[in-house]
């Protein structure tokens, strides 16, 4: 090797060293002390061992104002690249809090956008790891435009490739809107925060005193606002969660999910014990799911938000399905504003990415009351109807018990385009429950009766006998088959097998106008 080669190699190695030193040993130690990994360590944890390849590692800011040209910002505060997750290509960005607080400037945004463009070209998932103080103030409007460039790409990529945001530090102001446009948001218990305006601004504007955690911590966003979908104790478990989720998803809207052989389960003989025949008694619908999906394959989405509806991915015979189920154990499984939003978004995600939908129905009603009406249950509930009707993936329903009124329609009824609807023998498919119905249609007869209570009971018994069963719906073609609980897995599996090659297209249009 001649001298010139030697000197140029040394020059490259020195540059690499500077980039890899990130914000320096002191800041890295501080990052570790707060329980956080560095940006590169996060990529190592996210991707299959030894597969992460960094791109644009030397891309740097051209800004000169406020002495920016004299400040060293290795990688401009973000690492971008690609690698393999479960042997399949994925792209990612990881903001480096040790470099200028991970603040976003023009070059920082450019790096993220290039990785996003590559993900779109390769039709592969994009994962953004957020740990940033926000916009780099010194770069002014260029920083804001950088955010806009990212939001634009997030929006165009929506429904084409899975987009996952992982919040492992602060994410404040406009920066929140990239995660918000993505499909799923992961947070950690102690170090993640998301808010449009932080506690100091809130105090100065409104006088309200609130901590960062109470304003926008993981507990708030996973249980109250519904912004976050998954919460884990720390960076490592959180990034493992991302790996687990990606195991259920296809690479893009042109792909299908991996088949992952697991341990088949058929405990359907226990379903009649899990679900009480008395429709007023509660049970945990997750026990129903566990009785027939592959062992431990149910991966629940938003488990702490709108707990009256359970949504998540599972595998049956190794194949991914999306499950939407009313949760009888919480608010009797009624549909309200948050449950409608949660259900509709999940349904639309599954439809985007060719994931068949299984709906488990036990719903008494849309939740009544002025709070719901005034906050727009009509608008929000409509999202569920819209999402199911619009979905063209295979759609199978099992009506387990109650299916009343508008909520029955909303839960993937035949009229909304369900491909196959099963019902158990204890299913009650009606406009409403017997007591409410008799109070309306039997009012005159009850008022005129010598013994009103006896007349009411007679009419309730008659209504129960006539309507509170699955047979009227089966006779009218709204239920394809009344099945024994024991047969559930076998029937559901056969239905999805039959529907595997389903091809259904919507009329040509720019896009629908879902009520928002």
């Amino acid at each position: 090797m001649d001298e010139r080669w030697q000197s140029q190699i040394e020059r490259l190695m020195k540059k690499r060293e500077e980039v890899y030193a990130a914000g320096g040993a002191e800041r890295i130690a501080k990052q570790h002390a707060s329980g956080k990994l560095t940006a590169r360590e996060r990529m190592e944890a996210l991707f299959d061992d030894g597969t992460f390849v960094e791109i644009n590692d030397m891309l740097s800011s051209r800004a000169t104002d406020f002495g920016m040209d004299k400040k060293k910002k290795p990688g401009d505060g973000v690492i971008t690249g690609y690698g393999k997750i479960h042997g399949r290509v994925a792209f990612a960005s990881s903001q480096d809090f040790t470099v200028g607080g991970g603040a976003l400037g023009e070059a920082h945004a450019m790096k993220i956008c290039r990785a996003m463009d590559m993900a779109m070209d390769m039709k592969a998932p994009f994962i953004s790891v957020n740990d940033s103080g926000g916009a780099r103030i010194e770069e002014g409007i260029d920083s804001l435009t950088g955010y806009a460039d990212i939001f634009y790409r997030n929006t165009i990529a929506s429904g084409v490739i899975p987009q996952i945001s992982v919040i492992l530090g602060p994410c404040a102001g406009g920066a929140c809107y990239s995660p918000a446009i993505c499909d799923y948001i992961f947070m950690t218990e102690k170090n993640s925060q998301m808010y449009i305006t932080g506690p100091a601004v809130v105090k100065s504007v409104t006088g309200e005193v609130i901590s960062a955690a109470d304003l926008g911590g993981a507990a708030v966003h996973s249980a109250t606002s519904g912004v976050a979908h998954f919460v884990y104790p720390d960076d490592l478990s959180c990034l493992n969660g991302v790996r687990e989720l990606l195991g259920y998803l296809p690479q893009s809207n042109e792909d299908t999910s991996l088949v992952v052989p697991g341990v088949p389960v058929d405990n359907c003989a226990s379903l009649a014990d899990i679900v009480p025949a008395d429709s007023k008694r509660a049970y945990d619908v997750r026990d129903v799911i566990a009785a027939f999906v592959d062992a431990e394959s149910f991966f629940e989405v938003q488990p702490n938000f709108a707990r009256n509806i359970v949504v998540g991915f599972a595998r049956i015979e190794g194949k991914t399905v999306g499950i939407v189920a009313n949760q009888s154990a919480f608010m009797a499984g009624s549909l309200e504003i948050n449950a409608s939003d949660k259900g509709a978004r999940f349904i639309r995600f599954c439809d985007c990415f060719n994931i068949p939908l299984l709906t488990l129905v036990d719903v008494p009603a849309f939740l009544p009351g002025s709070q719901q009406e005034h906050n727009g249950i009509i608008r929000h509930g409509a999202k569920m109807l819209f999402a199911y009707a619009e979905a063209t993936v295979p759609k199978v329903s099992v009506i387990m018990r109650k299916a009343y009124g508008g909520a029955y329609i909303a839960m993937n009824s035949k009229g909304l385009g369900a491909d196959v609807v099963f019902a158990w023998p204890v299913a009650e498919i009606a406009v409403m429950g017997a007591a409410g119905a008799v109070a309306i249609i039997g009012k005159r007869a009850i008022d005129a009766a010598a013994d009103p209570d006896a007349k009411r009971k007679e009419l309730v018994d008659e209504y129960n006998d006539k309507f509170m069963n699955p047979y009227v719906a089966a006779e009218h073609g709204y239920v394809d088959e009344v099945i024994l609980p024991d047969e559930t897995r076998q029937k559901v599996l056969a239905a999805f097998d039959m529907l595997a090659e389903k091809k259904k297209a919507l009329p040509v249009k720019k896009h629908g106008n879902i009520p928002l």
């Binding site: 360590e41 190592e44 944890a45 493992n240 991996l258």
Partner: protein, 58 residues
């Protein structure tokens, strides 16, 4: 007993030869690079963290 780098390399080559069912004398090393523990591996070891990367089927 602490092994020298040469001894570790010799043992690795012997293992590869055995795996490939080749005579160790027939193997020729084209390049050799020492792989250091990564920053993440170091962090996990330093903090005695129980960690296993999630794999499909776990």
């Amino acid at each position: 007993m602490e092994l020298t780098m040469e001894q570790i390399a010799a043992m690795a080559i012997a293992s590869i030869a055995e795996e490939m069912q080749e005579d160790v004398k027939q193997l020729r090393i084209v390049s050799f690079r020492e792989v250091h523990q990564s920053s993440l591996e170091q962090y996990i070891a330093d903090n005695q963290i129980q960690y296993k990367k999630y794999q499909l089927g776990d």
